[in-house]
């Protein structure tokens, strides 16, 4: 069944994703860490779907769709940002700073 270990692993992976988002300045790596957090949530859904039926798998399906859409749009934004500033460093992105 492995419910507890799976939820624990999911907790560790989600925290690592949060740590990566806070730690890195490269917009692409921050984006990868967001994907890592989505994966951790997917693991929770799959682990609980064992007990509560296939609705959890449907949620994983939707999360993956949203992640794919997010990756496409987000990477296009990073591309436009790079063209504008010649950098993907988040410290150089202060357009809304006032």
């Amino acid at each position: 069944m492995l419910l507890g270990p799976s939820l624990g692993l999911s907790a560790i992976l989600f925290s690592l994703g949060v740590a990566g988002v806070l730690l890195r300045r490269n917009a692409l790596v921050v984006f990868m860490c967001i994907e890592l957090m989505l994966n951790a949530v997917n693991l929770t859904f799959v682990a609980l779907a064992q007990l509560h039926g296939a609705s959890g798998y449907i949620m994983v399906f939707f999360v993956m769709t949203v992640a794919a859409a997010e990756a496409a749009v987000g990477l296009a934004i990073i591309l436009a940002m790079f063209r504008h500033r010649q950098s993907v460093d988040l410290q150089n992105i202060n357009l809304l700073h006032g």
Partner: protein
């Protein structure tokens, strides 16, 4: 045996996720993230979710990560300087992520029986043991409908409208990506 395989892939997932957030080179970070996703796919198979494991490899490790590597290549970021923030941010990150991990570990002690027992003490209108039925429901559904059928049946019946809305979301994402990545914005 299953436990040993699980702990092997869990260790691999945590190790490659840590390396992903610590690698200076974004290409290396992306490849370590692919490794994490493959480990997770193996764990999905252990959790009786073979279809999700296949989708994980195809969509995440295949499509999404190739998109990431493609953009890294396009921006020519292969040899960037270290972009890890300063010591005060590192300390704050350790505290915040540690607190979050602690909270999530408390939540991870969830079991259906325990939740049902706690709700029964609180006094509910419906019997929580019925609402939060514990058991191998997923494995039972897979035996009745097959591995793909267990997902397809609810997806095209109960969740048909959300599934159709998903197609609109993907269309919007395609148009948005094309408009944003065009030369003159």
């Amino acid at each position: 045996m299953t436990n040993a395989v699980f702990w092997f892939f869990a260790g691999a997932a945590v190790l490659s996720a840590s390396l992903c957030i610590l690698q200076r080179n974004p290409v290396n970070a992306a490849l370590w993230l692919v490794s994490t996703m493959f480990s997770l796919a193996a764990i999905y198979i252990l959790l009786d979710a073979q279809f999700i494991a296949a989708i994980q490899v195809l969509v995440y490790a295949g499509a999404v990560m190739v998109l990431f590597l493609f953009v890294i290549m396009l921006l020519n970021l292969g040899h960037a300087a270290s972009d890890i923030r300063g010591p005060s941010t590192i300390a704050a990150t350790v505290v915040i992520a540690g607190l979050l991990a602690g909270e999530l570990f408390v939540l991870a002690r969830y079991t259906p029986a325990r939740l049902a027992a706690e709700l029964a003490q609180a006094g509910q209108l419906s019997d929580p043991r019925v609402v939060f039925a514990a058991g191998d429901i997923a494995r039972h559904e897979a035996q009745v409908n097959g591995v793909v059928g267990a997902i397809a049946a609810p997806l095209f019946q109960t969740y048909l409208v959300p599934f159709e809305i998903t197609s609109i979301l993907l269309l919007v994402a395609i148009i948005g990506a094309v408009v944003l990545a065009k030369r003159k914005v």
